[in-house]
Amino acid sequence: MPVPAIEFKDLNFAYTGHPDSLKAVSFSLKKGSRTALVGPNGAGKTTLLLMCNGTLRPTSGEVLVGGEPIKYASRQLREVRRKVGMVFQNSDSQLFAPTLYQDVAFGPLNLGWGEDEIRQAVSDALFAVGLTGYERRPPHHLSGGEKKRAAIAGVLAMKPEILIFDEPTSSLDPAGAAEIMDLLEEINQQGVTILLSTHDVELAYSWADDVVLIEGGEILTHAKPCSVFCDADLMRRAHLTQPAVLSLHHHLACRGIMKDRDPPAGLLEMAQRIEEMAATTATHHPPAPIYLIDCASGLDGTLRLLMETVSSLRIGVMGTTAKRQLAEAGIVADFTYGVIDASILHALRQETVVIVTSGGMIDRVRKRIAEFCEESRIPLSLRPVGQNDTAEEC
């Protein structure tokens, strides 16, 4: 078995003079996984997160980072804190330097890196979060979403292996939240293990590989999102509400209308299931094509061309690079999060979509669409534009 990124072994914790806030917590995160720690306020989410990099010391039990138990001497803690980066719920308390450059450089400087190395790390981190050019701005003049990204840059600059986020989307609006989640996905794609806490079940349901449910300081379960969230009793115990799609599925299954198999993994799957069981069959026009633009080497007019030839084209964009290029070209995307599923939904409704992205995400698009074609037996046509204009029909 590979070494887990973080492992909690029978962890107990109490703040002095208070009852236990964590009780017998044991679980581990696979390297490269993305996990949501879900629970109501006061369940102990933040306390548990503060254990991951040694900010709080357990009353009993231990925390292992990369297989090594955390030692609470300042020398060892420094290494743990470089490996395990943490982004707070309130970005304001994380941005304390007078300018963004100084803020992002704070971590690398304290790690004693060389000057050039620091400059490189800062510029990489700002690039990754899409804030290149903001170096001289005072952080408190940024918007809410920019502050969150600045806070992430400050942690990214230390090149962490594990990233911990406390309620990353709270107080952001849907567009801002979607951008942050997309950024987290990108960071995760680069091999960083991500653990985030949230009470937003819709977010956890659509984003996470695994869900850890916590309530009253105890871990209730650690499983796949759909199996956690479709257990109505478990959700009630944790004072949470089910995602709407699962709630609907649960009701229809109880009523005997929908076959009670695995809960749907998202809106797309739910829509397909309803189609299957519908009396009126769907109109059998073939789905519209999905275009795919690899923008690694720039947009070079392909997107403009497509926009001119295809009327009412929908544009989906994935990844910071693609987003920046679109912004520079002055093009507004239609969707920036959950792009692949949204694109399939649109294609099914005969609306032509183009996905602009780059790097490893190209493959993810391919895989997901092939997967859907196989499961649903609906042939979708994915057409890469640019280099080689051969369509991939599945």
């Binding site: 503060l50 304001d92 308390s93 408190h140």
Partner: protein
């Protein structure tokens, strides 16, 4: 950084229900008698009784209480050493020759230092008793009954609440800095604490403006409510306090021999 103020314990202590005036008379009376005493008997008596009351009756954790007693230790130690060597009289008991002068401590100086130390310990126990059993929120009505200016009391009340908001932010910033390895050396610590203080200043300024709006929105017209005390002192509460202060007073002013031999 710990931001669990003693006030948090005071809000939950087992003597919370006792009338505030009684507790103040007990604590302040103890302090006054302790610093007026000519022998260490009364201060030590006060220290012991008030410690017992605070730990066993008010149920303040003993470990916390002991830790608090040591807060002024460095001050006490340094000052008492000075008193030991500068005041004189009697027979020299310790002589430390230094290259440029010789330090001498006499037996009378030692007794004097012991007396000062015991007064400070007695006083500290009185202070801790008040701090750990009397929530600050109960003190404002007393300030008003002392006829202190309204503006002063209002300011004290607004300041009380603001401290908790601002200290919360300070702790969050401090944690964020520690997580990015701030304070890992002396130099880095200076930079980190300066950044903390400057961004806290900006935050405090914003908070002040928010506070102004919030008060305005509720039609602020220069008035502030005072929380009236719910309980009245009873004779049963008053009696043991009077008894304690009387014994302490007698111990303080009786011409008892010191040192006892």
């Amino acid at each position: 950084m710990d931001h669990h103020f003693l006030d948090d314990y005071a809000c939950r202590n087992a003597l919370r229900g006792i009338d505030t005036r009684i507790k103040l008379i007990l604590g302040l009376g103890g302090i006054l008698i302790a610093i007026s005493a000519d022998t260490p008997y009364a201060p030590l008596f006060i220290a012991i009784i008030l410690s017992i009351v605070t730990v066993f009756i008010a149920q303040i954790p003993a470990r916390l209480y002991l830790a608090l007693l040591f807060i002024p230790a460095s001050f006490a130690l340094m000052s008492v050493v000075v008193i030991l060597f500068v005041t004189g009289g009697g027979v020299p008991i310790v002589t430390i020759p230094l290259p440029w002068l010789t330090l001498t401590a006499t037996d009378a100086a030692a007794l004097h230092a012991l007396l000062i130390l015991s007064r400070a310990i007695g006083g500290t126990c009185g202070l801790l008793f008040i701090a750990l059993t009397t929530p600050v929120i109960e003190l404002f009505s007393i300030l008003r009954s002392l006829r202190l200016p309204d503006e002063f009391i209002d300011l004290a009340m607004l300041l009380y609440r603001s401290i908790f908001v601002i200290i919360g932010e300070a702790v969050a910033i401090y944690n964020a800095q520690v997580m990015r390895n701030g304070y890992s050396s002396f130099r880095k610590g200076i930079i980190a604490i300066s950044m903390l203080a400057s961004s806290l200043f900006i935050r405090a300024w914003d908070r002040g403006e928010e506070l102004m709006t919030a008060m305005d929105l509720r039609c602020y017209d220069g008035k502030f409510e005072i929380l009236e005390p719910t309980t009245a002192p009873t004779i049963y509460q008053f009696f043991p306090v009077l008894l304690f202060l009387s014994i302490a007073g007698i111990l303080a002013f009786l011409p008892l021999p010191f040192p006892p031999l």
